[in-house]
Amino acid sequence: MPVTDSGTPGDSDKRVSLKQPPAPGGQAVAPPALEVRDISKDFGNNRALDRVDLRIGHGEVVGLLGQNGSGKSTLVKVLAGVYDPEPGGRLFVGGEEVPLPLAPGQASEIGLSFVYQNLALAPGLSVLENLTLGQRIGGGARAWAPINWIGEHRSAAAVLDRYQVRLNLDRRTGELPPVDQARLAIVRAAEDLRRYRTRSGYKHSVLVLDEPTVFLPAEDIERLFDLIRTVVAEGAAVLFISHDLVAVRSITDRVVVLRDGRVVGEEAAGEIDEEALVDLIVGTPAGQGGPGSAPAEEPPVVQTALAPAEPAGPESAPELGQHVVVEHLADGRLADVSFEIGAGEILGVAGLIGSGAEDLPYLLFGARPAISGTLRLGARTLDAGRLSPQRSVRERIAFVPADRGALGLSERLALWENIVMLVEDEHYRGGVFRRSELVALAREAIARFEIRPPLAHAVTGTFSGGNQQKALLAKWLMARPRLLLLHEPTQGVDVGARRDIYRFVKSAATLNQTAVLWVTTDFGELAEVCDRVIVLSQGRPVATLAGEELSDDAITAAALRQTREDT
């Protein structure tokens, strides 16, 4: 039962006037649509949110900014009832206190609605079906009442008209361009809020938009903003979460900056310049790499790399270590990207989501087709548009994808089978597959890569994320790659395994002279492991950082700042 329904509006006004501290700027008349006070959230010893206060006034659009890990998503998840905050935090909706923690699903009953980056649309259903999906939930007799499709069609058309969104209601949602899918999701959420306001008689309601613009081209973002303005005009307040400083500055009234779980700044959007905003987000004046961020003790490069299988004869030496050159690589999102990776160098690629950085390893491996570009491995020149995984494996390009379960390892095979997958053919002699040799080889790798428990015959899916990731790395390093492509190689991996993975990749680079491309949104990781980092924005390289200037903050600043210049 929603708490807000328990009192009359008059009641709540009284309570608000007692409890509400006078708000700045003479806004004390109406209670804010949403206010949180003293919200904290711990994960183990890690404080993700530290006594966060946030107010969103009626009809206000507030931008929430911060780097990855600053606590933005944690705050959203507390509001959505996904996480329980630490005791002591308070939540006021329309001036009335709502006890925390919220139950999952309770948010919609108190006038909060969320649109996440993945939009939560069913691509196979029609626009109409997606729009009305929320009304189908709930059981009882209503679940058996006939649906009047003609009437629904008519009222849905009216809804779209109200928000000035023109969509064909019978189109399959998956066929819509991304911006229209985003608009559909926003209309659906806004409509939920409007229904809430009519039903309850309250004026407040808050639409939370979590990174709605990341995959959209600049011209489409404007259309999305028109919709947001309509939603605000209808009576909702908006919390807008984004990395995109240009977008935030153009749509929001006020910005709140989170860093390390704390609110570190709160400014009117028109009054702060971008340089100051970047500094607030990053924490140190950008450009001078944070002195405190120097990596902890360098783990010694032990003999963990796969030494060449043959006792390294002099003739095998030139085989190792090849210079990699990528030129004019392009796909839908990347526009003309060129870079080099020296033999034994670890090159990091950074970029916000949607910058195209995450496409790079897939394109260079041939897992997805590129439109154009070349990849030069030593003396060999390959056409990036015609790469295929088969070809790449033959050229000894290794690829560790982010989605380990679906793309990297077969979770139902035994561990040894996954590890030796790429070298099987070398152990097929005289018409027989040398299983015992392969198992022995896998056992060796399990020991060398410290995979625990060291059970070669156990089913791969039963290992922890970190150990699976080590196995995936072992599988590819087994093939003695010339180029190693890594995408989010430490995602969902515990701290110990993360250290181990850094060590294994570093020693592969040093001892085997493998060229490494490391793509992740964890910029701190790039600063720690990479020799050099290039920063992409909107499909183009915009900065290269190396040596002294290479730090978490510098990468973040470069990635953020460049979003501005492009628009």
Binding site: A406, D425, S464
Partner: protein
Amino acid sequence: MSAPAPVEEARDKEHQAERSAPSALWRAELHRYAILIVFAALIIGFGVSLPSTFLSIGNLSNILGSQAVLFILVMAVLLPTVVGDFVDLSLGSSLGLSAMTLAVLNVQHGWPVLLACLAGIGAAVCVGLVNVFFVVFFDNDPFIVTLGTMTIVQGVIYIVSGSNSVGIVSTNLSNWIFTNEFLSIPLEFYYGLAIFLVVWYVLSFTPTGQKALVIGQSREVARLSGVRVNRQRAWAYIIGAAIAAIAGIAYAGTNGTVDPTAGSALILPAYAAVFLGATAIKPGRINPLGALIAVYFLATGTAGLELLGAQTYFQQIFYGAALVAAITIPKVNRERFFKRKRAA
């Protein structure tokens, strides 16, 4: 920020894996041989109750010989299933088409039997190619496509045969398949055994087989490991169809006359055997040895029931029950059962 939760989970999982490792391994061993154990119990049970009829050479020969057509079809069904295309429903029709082509050409057109056999195989391979075209090339759902081709081929069989049984095929063929025996067992059993050995060898002892396995378990992982996924899927359909055609030849040789519905009754038992076999020897994997055991386990069960006087339709009940039991029992004694107990 979201790191701590996965860390916790990962550690938990690791501990679990370590703690439960020995008992899990022991249980896995038990699962591997569960069907063999039940099989042995079945033989002992029937042997004790029917010492004179069940434990006779005649009965052994009957069990081994009568299942040869099904067993060859099982090997055909196994191939697309291994590479993860879980159903090729048209294989039963391919069997029928091959048998009917052979019969029509041999009986009505007087072709020499060997040539007629080759024509039968050719016809079935064509069906396989059609499947490849629509399933692999156009990336359609194999269930739907092969449902279509199965129906089409069935129609073609009726056209070719004029909706009549066609017989009697050359006794030469019958001699080489059914009548002649080696160690009192019809030769067709040995043909099935030979095909089994080849399939088993390829799947278990060559990199090709290992790759097929990876394709079946995770197609994308295979693709990104450089495996030619579609090529191997295509071969599975084509060779599967060819083996189904051989099953058709065995059918024609065994029965002498070919009925237009030949094969359609065999496809579901064949799948039952393949999936039952996947619970044995290498649990969770489609494997030929498991399938071999499953076929003869089911045949022994039904033969024993028949000797005990049960009606033939009990066969079907036995088949179905064995399949459902085999995939369910390994799950019951794991988490679900214990969880409920703990909760209570």
